[in-house]
């Protein structure tokens, strides 16, 4: 095993264990923090893959933006110190079995059949990403880019409508 592989497994173990902690923690605020670490781990994985730009985006958007939003909304809505009830044992076992089965199944399939087109060199230059994003010709991503912006607009409108809702009179 080379050093690079060892680093990969270390990062992956970090991501997975943080993910497990974020799901199993019974305090919602802690869950959010574990999620934060898991997302930082993914950014590390991108650095490991040598795609610095995407790693930076991962940190700026997920770590800097989304987790902060999650924490804000926890403070605004939930009692963050309260412990949530424990999941029933049967559900824990069923969940663990489903994870185990899904993991084993996917792992065996990928291990046996593999992906054919690996090791293709790819150019992750920021200038090229920027050009592709606004290119309308073959291989350009202008259309999905625009459609996603409409999605964001619609999502914002939807959030505002739901959040604006006038509370029924307090009794």
């Amino acid at each position: 095993m080379t050093a690079s592989q060892i680093i990969f497994y270390l990062i992956s173990a970090f991501i997975l264990s943080m993910g497990v902690l974020s799901v199993t923690s019974r305090k919602i605020f802690r869950s959010a923090i574990w999620l934060l670490f898991s997302l930082i781990g993914i950014a590390a994985l991108y650095f490991w893959m040598d795609v610095q730009f995407i790693a930076a985006v991962q940190i700026v958007v997920y770590v800097g933006g989304i987790v902060v939003l999650i924490i804000f909304s926890i403070f605004l809505t939930q009692q963050s110190g309260k412990e949530m009830p424990k999941a029933p044992l049967l559900r824990t076992i069923a969940g663990a079995l489903a994870v185990l089965f899904g993991f084993a199944f996917t792992f065996l399939l990928i291990d046996q059949y593999g992906f054919p087109a690996i090791d293709q060199p790819f150019d992750n230059d920021v200038a090229r990403i920027g050009n592709a994003m606004l290119n309308t010709e073959q291989g350009g991503y202008a259309l999905p880019f625009e459609v996603v912006s409409i999605l964001l607009l619609a999502a914002m409108v939807g959030c505002i409508v739901i959040a604006l809702k006038t509370k029924p009179e307090e009794k």
């Binding site: 399939l109 990928i110 309308t136 073959q138 999905p144 409409i150 409108v157 409508v161």
Partner: protein
Amino acid sequence: MSIFFLLLQQELLLTAIIFVLLFVKLSTKQWNSQTVLSFVNILLVVNLAAGFFFKEKGTLFGDMFQTNDLLRFEKNILNLGTLLISLQAYNWLLKHKHAIEFYLLMLSTLLGMFFMLSSSNLLMFYVGLELASIPLAALANFDLDKKRSSEAAMKYIMSSAFASGLLLFGISLIYGMVGSVNFTDIAVAASENPLFLFGFILLIAGFGFKISAVPFHLWTADVYEGAPVAVTSYLSVISKGSMLFVMTSVLSTVFANLLFQWYNIVAVLAVLSMIVGNLFAIRQQNIKRFLAFSSISQVGFILIGMSGANIESHSSVVYFVLVYLFSNLAAFAVINVISEASGKENIDDYKGLYKTNPALTWVLAIALFSLAGIPPTAGFFGKFFLLLGGASKGNYLLIIVAALNMVISLYYYLRIIKAMFMDANETPVEKLAISWSPKISMAVCMAGIVVTGIISGAYEYIYSLLK
């Protein structure tokens, strides 16, 4: 340059309407809600009419977008359905504070469906799908002071996120195998490699969630029951219909190599959907829940037609979605009027409806006849063509199961008709005055049920588009 506008005409017009509405909302002037609603409905009529004027076909943005006669026609069907739902929701929206936002969200999801229909790679397909489902969760929450409505939205967004996760995992496996997300490349590379098949199955799970085929149907009943009636009808007709269009064409073109595999998957989904949908529909008391299970079993029949995998079966699916749109929207129009006026949504409340509201009763009865597939309504021909398309594979066992299920479904549709016409009720729904807009919508649906059934032109037209 002009070809750009002609090809994208339907999407651009819809986007323009969305932005006009956004500016109307943002303007400082307080518009009278009656004026706004009439204005929106006029825009939707224009939007529907404009779709019939252009015939250009081609691709844009490299391979991101394609359009042709069939896709245009399918989009026109969706436009028509949206207009009808908008007319039915008129009275509800008149009292609602956020009527414009309702249209903003609804038209955004429609736009997403258009891009999904026109996609020629998995990336655009996925982006369109998300645009078509995330705003729908907000729409399901539009009865803002009802807890059930929020619950419906919550259930919808959670299960839709889960389905998206499965779908994305499938897409990434396929991308890993093929090295491209283009439909043409995938069609060439599609093979019986188990890893590819696993990705394909996950893709079908994503489809199955949207059309709520059993076993991906668990969200359906709760969301349909909790959401406002207009949103329920939108979910059951437009959202489902668009996904059926995409699924039919993707399965028969992109995955033509895997015909044997997907035929078996679709057949199993069809049988499960019909049986589970029917058995649960029999014991429902709430009429929206009832229609949720009835729509699940209808999807089972559509999947039978889809399994034929030839031009006839493809056109039978498109034709049935058109017929289903008229029938289901007619039923929802009546439910909408009654629920709006009296808040009653249980089947028992419909007892004795004929005594007080004969016109509404007849509309609902004809809609249910059409859903059950009784001649001479269009539903009969729709189901007939579906079974004919499915039978072309020679798997008669499947067709027999479908025929038996049609008998079961007849029982529970007739149960409602019996309740309306024959059962006595001490406190029936009082006599309702129906305003002009639901009336127009019901008239169009009734005309649609009769015309698409009696005149064979509709089916032949769809068939000619596919040739």
